[in-house]
């Protein structure tokens, strides 16, 4: 199994979840309100509008599904919004 970690602007969280559900993933876990720094601006959670916050979404799935997710996210989300995708090996026990 593979673990995909998606770091995305909070404004796009709903959309990413919708895309994941359309791809019929088994599940996902969200950590809201993470802050961070990347190529672009520093993101932290003191903003009133949510546009300067990040969310971290974790999906554990088979390699095949993960690749599909990556394709979709690259096309639909990450071309305009800042964000990162990390993939690593993992075992799902339960």
């Amino acid at each position: 199994m593979k673990k995909l970690e998606i770091i995305i602007e909070s404004v796009e969280r709903r959309k990413v979840c919708r895309l994941l559900e359309e791809l019929n993933v088994n599940g996902y876990t969200i950590i809201n309100d993470v802050s961070g720094k990347g190529r672009q601006v520093t993101r932290n959670d003191s903003e009133l509008s949510d546009i300067m916050k990040n969310s971290l979404i974790i999906v554990v799935e088979s390699e095949e599904v993960i690749n599909k997710i990556i394709d979709v996210l690259k096309k639909e989300v990450l071309n305009y919004y800042s964000g990162k995708l990390f993939v690593s090996d993992i075992n799902m026990i339960v």
Binding site: V11, L48, S49, D50, I51, M52
Partner: protein
Amino acid sequence: MTEFISNAVQNLTTPMILFFVLGFISTILKSDIEIPQAISKILAIYFMIAIGFKGGVEISKTGISSGLYDSILSSILIGIITPLIAFLILKYIGKLDNVNCAAISAHYGSVSVVTFVTAISFLNGKSIEYHGYMVGMMALMESPAIFVSILLVRVFGSQKISALKSNYVDLLKESLFNSSVVLLFGSLIIGIVVGEIGMTTVKPFLVDPFNGVLTLFLLDMGMIAGQRINEFKKVGLFLGFFALIMPIINAIGSIILCGLMKFSIGDTLLFSVLAASSSYIAAPAAVRIALPQANPAYYITMSLAITFPFNIMFGIPLYYSIIIFLG
């Protein structure tokens, strides 16, 4: 002029404005004051409920005056024209690309609830009357500018944008049933329904501590604005200047419109403040979704760190002085 100075000084020595300044300075001093975001959010909700409800109760007392239809018309006019002017200035004077022009225009065409609330507090301090339905006007003016701006981007042709159609569904929902629109209209209607009897039951919470709570909220806003000021460099001179001039242009335009409509001093001030104010909660969220190519560092910094402080500190007394001066 002396009129303006005395009004400005009076405005600058209210606890509300001074706490804003304190918040601003404390951030620049890198003080570690931290107002949790949960508090900022609930305070924003409190103000929308409080002014919506109060407006509704006022309407229930005075009934719907004939001025209402003119006011609705004015709201829509301002909501459509101000983003248009902003767009043209940014495009032809500022030479900005279409997408950033539209993004910024959406902000200056939309409105800021806290600026409105501060203006109400200013009017209360001077015991000047205004219509209860003005809160409804604010709610009406939240979204049109956002749609106008997106339309402008399409009219001025940018092929990439069309790819984002799935986002428009999100956007429409976001704008129509936007939290401030729902809370303002909802509380307004509740205020109309329950009237003065209902008011007595909630007055110690929604009315009496209003100014005090505003003090705390503006402390927080000062800190948020102060954090943004570091990004000033990214904004550049032209946009920094725009963020000071555009509110004045919009305010004067609205004052003239209100003069033609023969609105009262209170309503005119509120219209001018709404026109002058720029959104930093609703518009950024909508624009980030609808126009992701636009640079958030521009619109948030301008709106939050320049226009908002300018309006609550100098804008409100300035527009008031202009209204008095023009008659």
